[in-house]
């Protein structure tokens, strides 16, 4: 890049070719007023407020569109410029009706700021519509967003961000000049348009014209206290500001700032509109103890004593291994660390697991074998510069919306080639060069066929294979007899398309694989992951910038919960429990006797309850009564276990089964860290007070541990992180002071280590990358006459997991009120089913009643259900067959029948 020297208001600034004057000024802390600029958008130069003088130019230029040149001299604040700006502002104020005194945006609004700064004449300030109701428009009746045309200055930012960043193009201006206003196509209600309720339009609006409907009247921006924290929903780990009213102590709105990593001010509907749960009045506020089948409120003393004595007694009589604990991917690293330490050092068992078992256990197992480390190899940011993106089994726009923005950006603005392999016609297909709608459960057949093409057509990276990997011969042998024709039959994908995908992926300079639960949630999950690892290694597409294998982790802190060792086979930092050296190390660090045996995984724990091997179960912040496969069986186990403790923020489906329920605090009420999907350890900060007597998860555990004879005490979450750093090398250099502003990605070995942007550079974590030959094995359950459909389950944009939190949001309930089953149009016609009909979905394990959603986005013979809804629990139907290595259940494939209920 060429450097350029520019003088702005006498200050020497160094910029890069292609930068605009405004960008350079902002970098150098020089303030040029602007209203239509947003760093996320292409400059439009429409508001004309950023006028500056450039020596030698004829007349003033708009700083937001004018590119710098070497030697340029710029004045931003001359008398003349100020006069021009004032005129522009006055024109805007003519259009803008509304008074700051009654506006929620007061304190944030840029028009207001500049109006004051330039002392706009009072008589142009048009308060025409003070207190009058806003005119109805495309947001009428929408729970999320309210558009007030009277406050709109027609800068077009909302329209542009919807088109350029979110790429939904829901908005437009209608009419011209004085009558122009923002609307949707044909003024249809927002929720019927292509809108995804990301609220990016609100975030960019410079005035109060767009605002969160539910935030209105709850406190003006100037009176809100903002706390930056990490979003609690998905693994993207967006940096989010919770703006709290001092008066009510409640969260009024969630916002985000441009420039933050990894989301640059963008959020999705859950982060922006899904915060109602925090102050929901159904929150647990007191410990509950079940007496004669009914919950009675109890004091903390009583509840903690009871838990400690019952667990103690079970250990005494049946041994430590008769107790199991489920930790939580929703909780912080510190809490997960304390939980597993409690299970291991106090109880004395490795029976600790969490929901990673249900999402990415196959990733952890598979990538660790192939590369030595089971995490995303690259950072989110790098996706933008990948030349080929192969998305397989990830509905990114719905499950990781903000990561999807980077994928769309790569395709639309940087010309990346996008290959989408997904049985459903997911939203990303709009941007894809190729869509491979493989039959569910046939991924290995597809990928092996791609590898075969790459070998046959000599697209291998031979140097990479020779230098960096081992056992390539085994792979070659395994795919020797793979035929494209056969693969086409198994996957239902034309051989040509498979070939084209393989060639495109292999040839691109930087290729990256994105995958998620479409790959992992199979009885062949580990095989699927291994075959993706093979694909990346034969082409050398790994260990480089923008090039790698990237599993997108589901929960906000599922990466962290794994890192912390909330898994039955590893201590914090993936140190094996069966290694005597490691055991010695932790026995010394924790001053306790530890078990040398691997513990049980989630589904195994449930099955062990049936066999009366597990007597006591401690569940922190998980909801297996809705999230686990084959619910009838899971729920029976929860009902049968001798003693069940549930620690949560709501009385979940699981908590109903508990003997003792302990009220915990939500993420907005505590300090800590979450590790996002790109391995970045980020701060969680307390923004509001906890309700009632709810307590910090780690404090509760410490109190129980102490009562059980293994004293644990910490003063602050930061202190727990210091202990984590001391026992877990990959977190060795992490401390709160280092991640105050921007999080660090592990491995980060010591205080000087800068963190790791992408893994396996020059050398794999395990030394050499290892090829594992895998062969196609069909899914456990196949369709037959009685159960003719393949049922897949998954997520949708608006809900998260078991809906415990998202379903407390009015915005989300409006767009996503209840469950459904997606069924292909022709299938629906054959079964006499119309859109919206009540249907019964049945498998060998159970039967669920729900609404039919007739669609053409799915292939005939396949049906899909989201698993969030307790009134239509998809997991009543799913199969609890497990991957033999990772023990992940096959959520993505089982055989089902559908019929209309008359």
């Amino acid at each position: 890049m060429t450097q350029m020297n520019v003088k702005i208001d006498g200050k020497d600034c160094i910029g890069q070719a292609g930068q605009t004057i405004l960008e350079l000024a902002i970098d150098n802390g020089i303030d040029i007023p602007n209203l239509c600029h947003d760093p996320r958008l292409k400059p439009s130069g429409s508001c004309r407020l950023c006028l500056v003088e450039v020596e030698g130019a004829r007349g003033p230029v708009t700083a937001c569109t004018f590119e710098i040149a070497d030697g340029m001299v710029v004045s931003t604040d001359t008398e003349e410029i100020r006069g021009l700006r004032k005129t522009v502002l006055e024109l805007l104020f003519y259009e803008h009706k509304g008074a700051c005194a009654t506006c929620d945006d007061n304190g944030e609004c840029k028009l207001q700021t500049y109006g004051y700064e330039y002392q706009v004449e009072d008589d142009v300030i048009n308060c025409g519509s003070v207190c009058s109701e806003p005119v109805p428009n495309y947001t009428a009746g929408n729970e999320a967003i309210e558009y007030d045309v009277d406050k709109c200055i027609r800068c077009g930012r909302c329209i542009r961000i919807c088109e350029e960043v979110q790429m939904d193009s829901a908005l437009t201006f209608k009419e011209r000049a004085g009558q122009a206003e923002v609307t949707t196509a044909f003024d249809i209600p927002l929720n019927e348009s292509t809108c995804e309720l990301c609220g990016q339009c609100i975030s960019t609006c410079p005035t109060g014209a767009l605002y969160e409907r539910h935030a209105k009247g709850k406190g003006q921006c100037k009176d809100l206290k903002s706390t930056t924290t990490t979003c609690v929903y998905c693994g993207v780990g967006c940096q989010i500001d919770l703006n709290v009213s001092a008066k009510t102590g409640k969260i009024v709105r969630a916002t985000s700032k441009t420039g933050v990593v990894p989301n640059n001010g963008n959020l999705c509907v859950k982060g922006r509109f899904g915060q109602d749960f925090v102050s929901d009045n159904r929150r647990l506020t007191m410990p509950l103890i079940k007496k004669d089948g009914e919950f009675k409120e109890a004091s903390w003393e009583e509840a903690l004593d009871l838990v400690a004595s019952r667990l103690g007694a079970i250990k005494e009589v049946n041994g430590a291994d008769s107790i199991a604990g489920l930790s939580s991917a929703k909780c912080t690293n510190e809490e997960n660390y304390i939980f597993q330490k409690f299970m291991r050092a106090c109880v004395g068992t490795n029976n600790v697991d969490h929901c990673a078992r249900l999402c990415h256990a196959s990733t952890v197992a598979g990538l660790a074998r192939a590369f030595g480390s089971g995490a995303m190899t690259n950072s989110i940011e790098e996706l933008k510069d990948a030349k080929c993106i192969f998305v397989i089994g990830s509905n990114t726009t719905e499950a990781h919306p903000v990561i999807a923005l980077n994928i769309k950006h790569a395709v639309v603005n940087n010309g990346a080639e996008l290959i989408v392999a997904d049985p459903r016609c997911i939203d990303l297909v709009r941007f894809a060069d190729m869509h491979i709608a493989q039959k569910p459960g046939t991924d290995v057949a597809l990928i092996n066929a791609m590898i075969k093409v790459i070998i046959d057509e000599d697209l291998l990276d031979k140097d990479f294979i020779a230098e960096r990997t081992e056992d390539f011969e085994l792979l070659k042998e395994a795919v020797k007899n793979v035929s494209l024709k056969e693969a086409a039959e198994i996957t239902t994908i034309p051989a040509d398309l498979i070939r084209q995908a393989a060639v495109t992926y292999a040839r691109a300079k930087t290729s990256t694989i994105i995958y998620s639960m479409g790959i992992t949630q199979h009885t062949t999950g580990t095989d699927n992951v291994l075959s993706l690892a093979n694909l990346s290694m034969v082409t050398g597409h790994i260990g480089k910038e923008s090039t790698g294998v990237n599993p997108l982790r589901g929960q906000n802190n599922v990466q962290g919960a794994c890192d912390m060792g909330a898994l039955p086979n590893v201590y914090p930092g993936y140190q094996q429990v069966e290694s005597p050296n490691v055991q010695d190390k932790f026995e010394a660090a924790w001053n306790a006797k530890l078990s040398p045996n691997k513990g049980l995984t989630i589904v195994e724990i449930m099955h062990a309850i049936e066999e009366e091997k597990i007597k006591g179960l401690y569940i922190m912040g998980e909801n297996p009564a809705l999230s686990d496969p084959n619910l009838n069986r899971t729920r029976k186990a929860l009902g049968e276990v001798e003693f069940l403790v549930v620690q949560d923020i709501f009385l979940t489906e699981t908590a109903q089964y508990a003997d003792v329920v302990l009220p915990a605090v939500s993420y907005a009420e505590k300090d800590g860290t979450f590790t996002n999907t790109e391995r970045r350890v980020q701060r969680v900060r307390k923004a509001v007070e906890a309700p009632g007597e709810a307590r910090l998860d780690w404090k509760i555990i410490c109190d129980i541990s102490t009562r059980m004879g293994f004293p644990m005490a910490y003063y602050r979450a930061a202190g727990i992180m210091d202990e984590i750093a001391s026992v877990s090398p990959i977190y060795g250099g992490i401390s709160y002071d280092r991640i105050e502003k921007v999080g660090l990605a592990w491995p980060c070995f010591d205080k000087e280590h800068p963190g790791t942007k992408f893994l396996h550079k020059g050398k794999f974590s395990r030394g050499k990358g290892k090829f594992h030959p895998v062969t196609f094995i069909p899914a456990k359950e196949s369709t037959d006459k009685e159960f003719p459909f393949v049922l897949s389950t998954g997520r949708q944009l608006y809900q998260f997991h078991t809906g415990t939190m998202t379903r407390k949001s009015a915005v989300i309930n409006q767009v996503s009120p209840t469950g459904y089953v997606e069924i292909q149009l022709d299938d629906a016609v054959n079964l006499g089913i119309s859109n919206g009909d009540r249907v019964e979905v049945k498998t060998r394990r159970g039967c669920v009643e729900t609404d039919a959603k007739v669609t053409e986005n799915i292939e005939p013979g396949w049906i899909f259900m989201p698993f969030h809804f307790s009134e239509a629990p998809a997991n009543m139907l799913t199969i609890d067959e497990l991957d033999p290595v990772a023990k992940i259940p096959e959520f993505k494939v089982c055989a089902a029948a559908v019929r209309k209920i008359s």
Partner: protein
């Protein structure tokens, strides 16, 4: 729901689009013109279909369609009546003329009669203030209107009774 613009005959659209290869947003205006010629206006379902088939956002098409006066988003009658809201006409009793037209036809400005005979619009100034108050039907100017004359002029455009039978 909105009944206007539902269930249009998409064959007309097929013909229109088949004249274009590789449609981009540059083709939008000619396409909209042809749709308007073919359907008489821009029906919602047809526009949505264009968006679906071309990938051009429906919102963008709507923006263009509302930007130009030339395009109509509601069905148009056989005859277009325009009346002036300008100052000169206002002073000379324009508002009363407008009222009578509305009453005669049973509609509001911007609407079309159920039999699809008349569409009624008001405009800022028709540029012939000397003839105020003014009404224009299908390009014919009727100046110095009175309340009485309105019905007369309108009747002259209606189909005679025997033709209807």
């Amino acid at each position: 729901m909105n009944l206007i613009g539902e269930n249009s005959d998409l064959n007309i659209l097929d013909d229109i689009l088949s004249a274009f290869t590789e449609i981009t947003s540059n083709d939008l205006i000619p396409i909209l013109q042809r749709i308007q010629n073919g359907y008489g206006y821009l029906p919602k379902d047809v526009v949505m279909e264009v968006s679906e088939r071309t990938g051009i956002a429906a919102s963008q098409i709507y923006g263009v369609a509302t930007f130009y006066e030339q395009f109509h988003l509601k069905p148009r009658g056989k005859h277009l009546i325009r009346c002036c809201r300008g100052t000169a006409c206002h002073v000379k009793g324009g508002p009363e003329i407008i009222d009578v037209i509305k009453k005669c036809l049973g509609l509001e400005a911007g609407e079309t009669t159920e039999d699809m005979e008349f569409t009624f619009e008001t405009v800022a100034c028709l540029g012939a203030c000397a003839l105020a108050p003014l009404m224009v039907i299908d390009g014919n100017y009727y100046g110095m209107m009175t309340k009485q004359k309105v019905a007369e002029v309108l009747d002259s455009f209606r189909k005679p009774a025997e033709e209807i039978a």
